[in-house]
Symmetry: C2
Subunit: 757 residues, 2 copies
């Protein structure tokens, strides 16, 4: 329906970058080479918490082929970070986790660099470690003894090992609990999950004669990488040029600086280009995984299952640095509130330091961990009250105009439609078709992150358009999605839009490939640029056609006025002669909605922009003997506002569900005494094609007021509900919830045994 | 004086690209490499004019390491060209000059490619050749038998071997000649001159999976190369991406496509990146040299030496293709008119095909050839009339408000000042200080070529600015000159301006590094962009400072309003959060002045924009026995309007004079029976540091109305006057003019012997 009146937007057009990616022609950052390039490797701590007494690089430095070694002593002493500036390039006086960078080597081959790293001698003196965040909350041991001296966002509250603490309070929760029909109290836990991108973190850096460093890397946020690198290198930002040749997946794991700083520092030291690529072991011990968490959730209901109050605490295990921990923990509060009307809320988040790897903003940060708790508990309550879980949800979900947790107003609400469509598709009427088989449902809402996007658009003399943007294509539509909007507005074909690679020097600022914002924001920027281009074209055409501007429209690559017309190509050629060509700059930013600041405290994202609504339903079987889960069917009903490219959206849904299945059933970076026990891609169990069923996508289109053609953010939501939907289906099949991610066969068997004991 | 009230513009600041260029860090196109790259070489005709009966590539194709061979049969049959579309990638059925491309080979090494080229067998059948343009005018032989079928600019008149013919007619020249006191009639000739850039023509091409070809090359006109390549490859222009890593000199020899098409075609054929670089032999037999010419010039004067009328014809030898010949020949007409008031003019230009290398637009195309004739003749007349040559010039030069040859009005005229300053500096009062030593003077005017330039400018979060432009830096200020204007307007330092490399995909259109237009046009575009950025900054600052916009000014990297101020860096950061950042697009184009179309016929550049005026004076000695010329002193007084960077301008003057000395005294591509006899850089004699004296530059600033701060074009003029000034000084020293360039020792001795015989 949506596509009917548009030529390009709304259609299932092939990705502009698809052919190169499937044929292997596409140059990823990992493929990128410079002549005369050195190879860098990083020495990492073998201790979880220790004083570094001495680093002896002399043996390594003497090896043939070694061109430079750097340690903390060689570089500016700067702490960087997003919410909290607690991070250093290398461990300074102390190692804070196994995997903490200690030194880096550049050599003429990777093999020599590896041997040199092994030849560096480090003398440690162990300190007592903290691995458990709840223990860290109580302990007198301080992972950051100088915490009080660090810079941080003003909203960050500092306290012991807590790196951030936010609150949402709505109404009088205590009073509501006191007069409730029933109160439920549960504890859930989730595990550390690697983003699972195909291409490891990689960067190649080279300094030019003017002291400008260019870094070719696979960051999702080139502009953030630029400013962070500038801080680390102690340079003005414009002396750092970040360009992204290609990026083999990101999922939030490539938002923050990864190996770019090592490459840039080694290149400065050696005066040669240097490439640094993470190994699989580094990916699993020193990248930016999704945090492990503990969620304590208490809910009060009346007899009919209406939610009267919810209170709770999420404890997010940041690891050694705050990273995205404070933000992630805070976002959990909105997720836990859910797309539900709840009388009162009293939620609190805590991001806690431990001696483990620091963590990032994996796709829908906080989404699955909070939703797993929140939505499994809904099913537990429904079971206890003898209600159908779908029916209980439908009684509580928000409707158009209801207030959200921050006091904002819910608009273009589609949660009921999503729930009903997912339930219908999975065959909800028959939740237990056979013993050991069950169906589960879960729903959520999620924001479309704000931040500004800018584009330059220029019409070429062949009538095609070139789109220059700072947005990286990680599968979120920077290339095809935005180009469909632009083509639609200019009456061009999708293949008429040329999108340039990202380069912080040449491109307008973009807030980055994060937060389900790319097609939404870059699309809006394209709308603005196209509007300006139409103005320019109509003005020029008015002279050429001798027709009034108000009669003009763009149609099939021409400016048409009555029975007169002139092609866009011709106008582009004329405009070059007349001066400058047809060029426009477009910018978009979604202002944050109004909210009630008395409800939300110390929160970096106090209110959500343009939320989307979605429901997942799953049909699975559990082997009663082994606990092995087989997913029979998986259905997603997701409100995307307007489907600019339905195929693209289905791809996003399928990928997100696959990651959610991994988090639900198998993925966990397993720590034992501070050491990762499965630091390789054999023992770290991501789902394979054999483990993922065909995913059925139902695209719901409830137009937003802010997005291009009514679009909403799409990319992150698909991985929010899988753990909860699968957890609820496991419970439908077995009668019990494991309450802890991943819900491995062992945990399911244990839960079943406990139930029967 | 000019610099006093400006912080950045008008100052002798170091070139932004200087360090990389002098330290060898700068990556020129010749340094550029891609991994997996093949090497291309071109087979060239050994016949001057011949039918090609057969090309046998079988032996070459069978050689190990050969990856692809292309001939005319393998590629789209397209004729391209600027004024006349007569050019093909390869010779089709006939070879038109020795050096004409016949085939191209890509192989895994340059050595293999060379051996394969040698193994291609070509069967020729000779045709009668035409080497002399005057003979070509009379001959029935047609170099382009299908001439009538080619596409060409509407102004091109087709006739036999004439590729173009323009006229300027002012007043009644015949009547003026009839009643003149005296009439002088002379014949001059000039030779084929290689531009002498350091880096040969080179291009590396690579096709991506979407069928877009990227070409890294050293063109002066990336956008022209883009559109020409698109024609040759039969693609829409936007499928061709041209980027210029660096360019080691151009001087007009890199305006038009050189080897880019070979690289792109071979890369398409082999599905591999291919690099093609000209050899020195190819540079001297198949590049785009300055045309040889014959000038027939007749001048009528009254008793006081006032110019009553001038008539004449310039015959420009285009070689096998029209190339820049028709335009060059036409431009000569304005040069021959000179910065003089002349009662009547009757000039005609002819661009003529011959079986020699086709030619380009070497720095000030037509300038030196026409000025040599025109200014030597002035001295001849002065001598005959017993006038001082300076005095004769001063009697005739134009003054403010005088009409130019096309009927335009001369404004900001400085020719008298230039003549007097050059004469004073050289010590004009003593023209023959000793036997065999003489002083000469010559003057000219020259246009600032129009065409549009666009820039994007963006303020970075460190308060610096990034300038994205499509203008190539060949020493004409694309980087430093434009950046000085931008820095001035934004109250920044020059080092705060970051200039990106040129990329036709990312950059706004620019008419190219030609015609003394770069700093002028890109500077004007920077003025426009800076004005828009000030508007954006003031608007944002108004909110921050709570001050009215009308009180605001930019000062020392801050917006200042009374005693309140905010830094540009801070505004840049705020603007990213508020949306989009501080970004602007600026465009500049100089409209052509009004002119009288009845005066100018079939002329591609019928009137000159923003002309500059200049005079050269030289003091030299001629060895009376050998004819060897030693230049003692060389003075240039050049009106630059406003000196944005005096050091840069002096560099332009010094380089241009060196090239002019080469053209005057030694440089000539010597043809004998269609074969270049000195196709190497040993026998082709460019002046060395030993041959060039210190050049004394006198910068005259007579502000233009159109250029940034009053600037005029600077780059081309310095090479216009050297042949005439040196010719006149030789005459002062010896009593005779050789009348033919280069004025070698042999020619000078011959002229002296003829005089004394």
């Amino acid at each position: 329906m949506s596509a009917h009146n548009r030529r390009v937007a709304g259609h299932r057009l092939p990705r502009r970058d698809g052919v190169g990616k499937v044929t292997g022609k596409h140059v990823y950052a990992a493929d990128f080479k410079l002549s005369g390039m050195l190879y860098g490797r990083v020495l990492r701590s073998t201790r979880a918490h220790a004083l570094i007494k001495k680093i002896d690089t002399s043996r390594a430095a003497a090896m043939a082929g070694v061109r430079g070694i750097i340690t903390s002593a060689d570089i500016p002493q700067i702490r960087y970070g997003t919410a909290v500036r607690d991070t250093t390039v290398f461990a300074t006086d102390r190692a804070l986790f196994m995997g903490h960078a200690i030194a880096a080597v550049a050599a003429t081959s990777l093999e020599i660099a590896e041997r040199a790293v092994a030849a560096i001698e480090v003398e440690y003196e162990d300190l007592p470690p903290l691995f458990d965040p709840e223990e860290a909350l109580k302990s007198d041991i301080r992972i950051h003894p100088d915490w009080e001296t660090y810079k941080a966002l003003p909203i960050i509250s500092r306290n012991g090992n807590i790196a951030g603490q936010a609150r949402i309070r709505v109404g009088d929760a205590e009073a509501a609990f006191a007069k409730a029909h029933k109160v439920y109290d549960h504890r859930f836990s989730t595990a550390l999950q690697h983003p699972g991108y195909t291409e490891p973190r990689v960067a190649t850096a080279d300094w030019d004669a003017n002291g400008i460093v260019t870094v070719w890397c696979n960051t999702q946020l080139p502009f953030d990488t630029q400013t962070t690198l500038a801080e680390i290198l102690d340079l003005p930002a414009a002396r750092v040029r970040v360009t992204v040749p290609g990026i083999g997946g990101g999922f939030g794991g490539k938002l923050r600086i990864g190996v770019e700083h090592f490459a840039a520092l080694l290149a400065r030291k050696t005066a040669r280009p240097v490439k640094v690529m993470s190994t699989s072991e580094e990916e699993l011990t020193a990248a930016l995984p999704r945090q492990a968490s503990i969620v304590l959730l208490k809910t009060a209901v009346d007899k009919e299952g209406h939610l009267l109050a919810r209170s709770g605490r999420i404890i997010v295990d940041c690891g050694a640095y705050a990273g995205s921990g404070p933000g992630t923990a805070a976002i959990a509060l909105q997720v836990m509130a859910g797309p539900y009307k709840t009388g009162a809320l009293a939620f609190e988040s805590m991001a806690v330091y431990t001696n483990k790897v620091h963590s990032g903003s994996f796709r829908a940060p906080a989404g699955p961990m909070a939703n797993f708790a929140m939505e499994c508990q809904i099913d537990m309550i429904a079971k206890d009250l003898g209600l159908d879980p779908l029916e209980m949800r439908l009684r509580n979900v928000v409707k158009e105009g209801d207030p959200g947790p921050s006091g904002e107003t819910h608009t273009s609400v589609s949660i009921e439609e999503c729930l009903r469509k997912a339930a219908d598709a999975i065959g909800w009427h028959d939740r237990n078709p056979e013993p050991g088989r069950g169906k589960g449902i879960a729903c959520s809402w999620w924001m479309t992150t704000g931040g500004s996007s800018g584009v330059y658009v220029k019409i070429n003399p062949d009538g095609s358009a070139t789109l220059v943007s700072g947005a990286v294509e990680i599968g979120t539509g920077a290339i095809t999605g935005a180009a469909q909007v632009l083509a639609e507005e200019l009456s061009l074909d999708l293949t008429d839009i040329n999108v340039t690679g990202v380069d912080t020097q040449a491109a307008p600022f973009d807030f980055g490939a994060q937060g389900s914002r790319t097609t939404f924001s870059v699309g809006n920027a394209c709308l603005a640029a196209a509007s300006e281009l139409r103005r320019q074209m109509f003005e020029l055409a008015a002279k050429q056609l001798e027709a009034p501007i108000e009669d003009m429209k763009l149609q099939d690559k021409h400016v048409v006025a009555g029975n007169k017309s002139i092609s866009i190509a011709e106008l582009a050629r004329i405009s070059r002669l007349a001066g400058g060509g047809l060029i426009a700059h477009g910018t978009a930013i979604s202002p944050a909605p109004a909210y009630d600041p008395t409800r939300v405290q110390n929160h970096p994202l106090p209110v959500w922009n343009t939320p989307s609504y979605h429901a997942h339903a799953v049909d699975l079987s559990v082997d009663q003997a082994t606990g092995k889960v087989t997913i029979n069917r998986y259905v997603v009903a997701q409100d995307v506002g307007y489907a600019i490219n339905p195929t693209y959206i289905e791809g996003q849904i399928e990928g997100g569900v696959a990651q959610g299945i991994g988090q639900a059933l198998s993925e966990e970076i397993v720590y034992q005494d501070g050491r990762v026990m499965n630091a390789n891609l054999t023992d770290y169990k991501m789902p394979t094609a054999m483990d993922v069923p065909e995913i059925e996508s139902i695209i719901v289109e409830c137009r937003s007021a802010a997005g291009p053609y009514g679009a909403k953010g799409v990319g992150e939501p698909p991985c929010i509900e899988p753990p909860a939907a699968i957890g609820n289906a496991i419970a439908a099949a077995t009668g019990c919830w494991p309450n802890s991610l991943p819900m491995t066969a062992e945990k399911i068997v244990a839960a079943m045994q406990k139930q029967h004991s």
